[in-house]
Amino acid sequence: MQWETVIGLEIHTQLATHSKIFSGSSTAFGAEPNTQANLVDLGMPGVLPVLNRKAVEYAVRFGRAIDAHVAERSVFARKNYFYPDLPKGYQISQFELPIVGKGCVEIVLEDGEVKTVGVTRAHLEEDAGKSLHEDFHGMTGIDLNRAGTPLLEIVSEPDMRSAREAIAYARKIHQIVTYLGICDGNMQEGSFRCDANVSVRPKGQAEFGTRAELKNINSFRFLERAINYEVERQIELIEDGGKVVQETRLYDANRDETRSMRSKEEANDYRYFPDPDLLPVVIDQAFMDAVSADMPELPDARRTRFQEAFGLSAYDANGLTATRATADYFEAVSAATGDAKLAANWVMGELAAALNKEGLEIERSPVDAAALAGLLLRIRDNTISGKIAKQVFEAMWSGQGSADELIEAKGLKQITDSGAIEALVDEVLAANPEQVENYRNADPAKRPKMIGFFVGQVMKKSQGKANPQQVNELLRGKLD
């Protein structure tokens, strides 16, 4: 039997607002437990939520970015269930009337084909706190710092047919929200979390199979693995005569498997109803206009601009716009050096290789855009050669100083004084009479190749600092 996989994703993006969605507490990550939870976050008797306008702006920004319908009127609803890290006994979310309606994004598949994935909706909600099970001797600790952090939950249509497609979609959404500046995209800290609804069906069948919801996935790699594991599990189960049950399954990265968490039978009835403490969110034209005026450039537009304005190849433009941070980095280097191609080569080449080697994101690069530009300027003005620049870059990477400091300290400045170079050339010619003889007797057609030996010797003598072009010219003048 041929099977087809059907995947839909629910992506929770933490919005990058300074304060929480319904209170003034800070949303900064990593503070001491419960130091960023005020009366509202603690769900004290009598407190009330007040909506953070910025969170609404961010949601609308996302809606515009995916060409979705932004609701003129959306409503917050209470999702009722008991859990110790849910202080009020309900989560404020949106149910029947979400702020962002149907939209879509385009993903590029490996074979270059472009596929459109539908976004069903995106709604605003508050995050819960965290239950801490370690270090409490059989008890559970509660940290409410995260409680009330704004989330935009982005729900896709079940449009994806493989783990690869799911990853491409998730990466696309990640790219969009980080470009929009509405989410920092940090998966380790939980700012961007994917749940996957996965089912299989015989190829050609119209109805969907029964789905399992996979949770606890905190990297794109794990998303792929979790889906692949789950697809195999479901196919095996069905082929062995079993039935898939609708349930929530947790992905265990250590064992690379999914495990049942709760089945639909024990699922909560959340008793959603409109939250009477909050007014409906009304988005008028003025609000929409303000958000539109504030829209950052999106990845597709930026890629096109890089090609057109800087004359970059499609490959380079794609690579340089993969993340907003990379694109920003590149543009900063390009602007400071006035040489987009040189900047592109270095960002895609030396820098990317170094980052990759250490598994670093560009935001944490030890060489920032200004520093790299400082190095490239010295190539531009012939202070150093490209080859020496690589040496300097390595030293900069390990924190030894700026390009200028290193060039000065290590005496790497290119020798352009023709008198000095001539002296070196003379030394080399004097030391290698045989080679000089051979050169002069050789067929002129072979000479350009043979001159390389002398260039190498001179460069070696100058410790790489002699201007290679000048060396070439002088040698030719003396030998030919």
């Binding site: 009366l39 603690l42 769900g43 004290m44 008797p45 009598g46 407190v47 009330l48 939520p49 007040v50 909506l51 209470r78 009722n80 008991f82 110790p84 202080p87 009020k88 006994g89 309900y90 559970t140 509660i142 009835d269 008793r271 959603y272 109803f273 009477p276 403490d277 909050l278 007014l279």
Partner: protein
């Protein structure tokens, strides 16, 4: 001193006839002497009160006093008060010391009022007799074998017995007006959104509203003026300026169109109550008001609609009382489930549980449309009824309650008969309108309430009409014997 109204006391303070400390001590002594008979207070805060009184005296001496500076008052125990127990009449919060002040509490404190303590109430404001309080029932000063009404029963009894000049109350379905009626005082439920709900422990968020309970409309105008106003902490509070209620009190009522609700004044209404309400209407006519008949055809649906909406909201609002962060926690919980079940079973008493059950059911999958959604539609119809009626009149008048104060224990086993106590008050909450209950002529020695309902934000008009009745009659000046 306890016979005086706030307006009179304020004049006395300004004239230096007595200090706020003396006034405060006087009322504290009365509470000490008399409240054992009523049980109207859950918590007394004499030290805090005297401290506030001293500060008020300094303000008065410095010429920095307003009309309310130095006047003693109390808060219904549903309002969070910083550093003071805020029990909401429940075992669940028996030991809850609030870490903050409700907005209404801080506003009245800023006006210089002196808080004597926290008044008794039905548990989580659920009740119409003040018998569901964990701290015992409150008794009616007019007859201590009878209930004072609820849920703001402690507030009403304390004002009626002259233990304190003013108390705050909250009204979700009649909880200010019904006890005001049953104890012969003045109680105002403002427009939804006029007073901040921040710090007022929520029962039914879309209906709850704070208001003053006093002896006279004039006093209510002073207190409301200080309580009301937009609060950035409450998204449902109204962003509009507060009227000068005191300034509008004396306006004549000649030409005022008074709407009498056809559906409320029919043959089934208790004859004594009907006669009493007629007397109040007659007084308005005597002063030149014009009576018109209006209809609220959907008002009979208000009690059933209310008993879906209010329990639904309360079932969710009361979820935070889970034994995890504050409030009652059971001994030695076996696991999380046990912690929830026993903490809540022990912390809430039966009426609260009943409403949580009803509300949970009404919101359940498959029942939501039939109950909650339907009830919300009825709300719209009722609001529409009022809009139509106000096209023909300026205020609507009605009885506040179907009868006078009933004996303690009489309706304890019959929740539906208890719920019908609010048959004339609930429609107002469902429509979010303001209404006031003032004393009408007593029946068999027991107070009767006359209800005046206004269109949105017409509190000034209601206080004006009530005041015009009160300056021409002595129905509000009756004092229960022994107090």
């Amino acid at each position: 001193m306890h016979e005086k109204t706030i307006a009179e006391l304020s004049a006395g303070l300004a004239a230096g006839d007595y200090s706020s400390v003396e006034l405060t001590s006087h009322f504290l002594e009365r509470i000490e002497q008399l409240d054992a008979r009523l049980n109207s207070f859950i918590t007394l805060t004499p030290e805090l009160a005297l401290e506030q009184a001293r500060a008020a005296d300094q303000r008065i001496a410095a010429g920095d006093a307003g009309a309310l500076t130095g006047i003693p008052m109390a808060h219904k125990d549903i309002f969070c008060t910083l550093g003071v127990r805020t029990s909401c009449g429940s075992r669940m919060l028996e030991n809850f010391i609030s870490p903050y002040d409700a907005t209404v509490v801080s506003k009245l404190a800023e006006a210089g009022m002196v808080m004597l303590g926290k008044t008794n109430m039905d548990e989580f404001a659920m009740g119409s007799s003040n018998e569901t309080s964990h701290f015992g029932p409150v008794r009616n000063p007019w007859d201590v074998e009878r209930v004072p009404g609820g849920s703001s029963g402690g507030s009403a009894a304390a004002v009626a017995a002259r233990l304190v000049p003013a108390v705050t109350g909250t009204d979700t379905g009649g909880s200010i007006r019904q006890p005001a009626a049953l104890t012969g005082i003045t109680g105002l439920k403002p427009t939804y959104g006029r007073c901040s709900r921040y710090g007022m422990i929520a029962f039914a968020s879309s209906l709850d509203q704070a208001g003053p309970m006093t002896r006279t409309a004039e006093d209510a105008a002073l207190i409301l003026g200080a309580m009301a106003g937009f609060d950035p902490r409450d998204s449902t509070s109204a962003e509009r300026p507060v009227d000068d209620y005191a300034a509008a009190l004396d306006q004549p009522v000649s030409g005022l169109r008074v709407g009498v609700v056809r559906e409320f004044m029919h043959g089934d209404l208790d004859a004594g109550i009907a006669a009493s309400v007629e007397a109040a209407i007659a007084e308005l006519q005597r002063q030149g008001a014009e009576v018109v008949e209006v209809s609220l055809p959907n008002a009979h649906l208000s009690v059933p609609a209310y008993y879906v909406v209010a329990p639904a909201e309360c079932s969710s609002n009361l979820s935070r009382f889970d034994g995890v962060r504050f409030g009652h926690r059971c001994e030695d919980p076996k696991d999380l489930e046990d912690l929830y079940k026993r903490s809540r079973s022990e912390g809430f008493s039966s009426e609260v549980k009943r409403r949580i059950m009803i509300g949970t059911y009404a919101l359940s999958a498959g029942y939501y449309d039939a109950y909650y959604l339907k009830a919300q539609q009825i709300r719209q119809l009722i609001a529409e009824d009022f809009r139509r009626a106000f096209a023909d009149c300026d205020v609507i008048v009605a009885p506040t309650t179907p009868g006078t104060a009933f004996p303690l224990g009489e309706k304890g086993d019959d929740p539906v008969s208890m719920y019908l106590q609010d048959i004339f008050t609930i429609a107002v909450n469902l429509a979010g309108l303001p209404a006031i209950s003032i004393p009408a002529p007593a029946v068999n020695g027991l107070p009767v309430g006359f209800q005046i309902i206004g269109d949105q934000f017409q509190e000034g008009r209601l206080l004006n009409v009530a005041h015009r009745i009160q300056i021409e009659t002595d129905w509000h000046q009756q004092v229960p014997e022994g107090f």
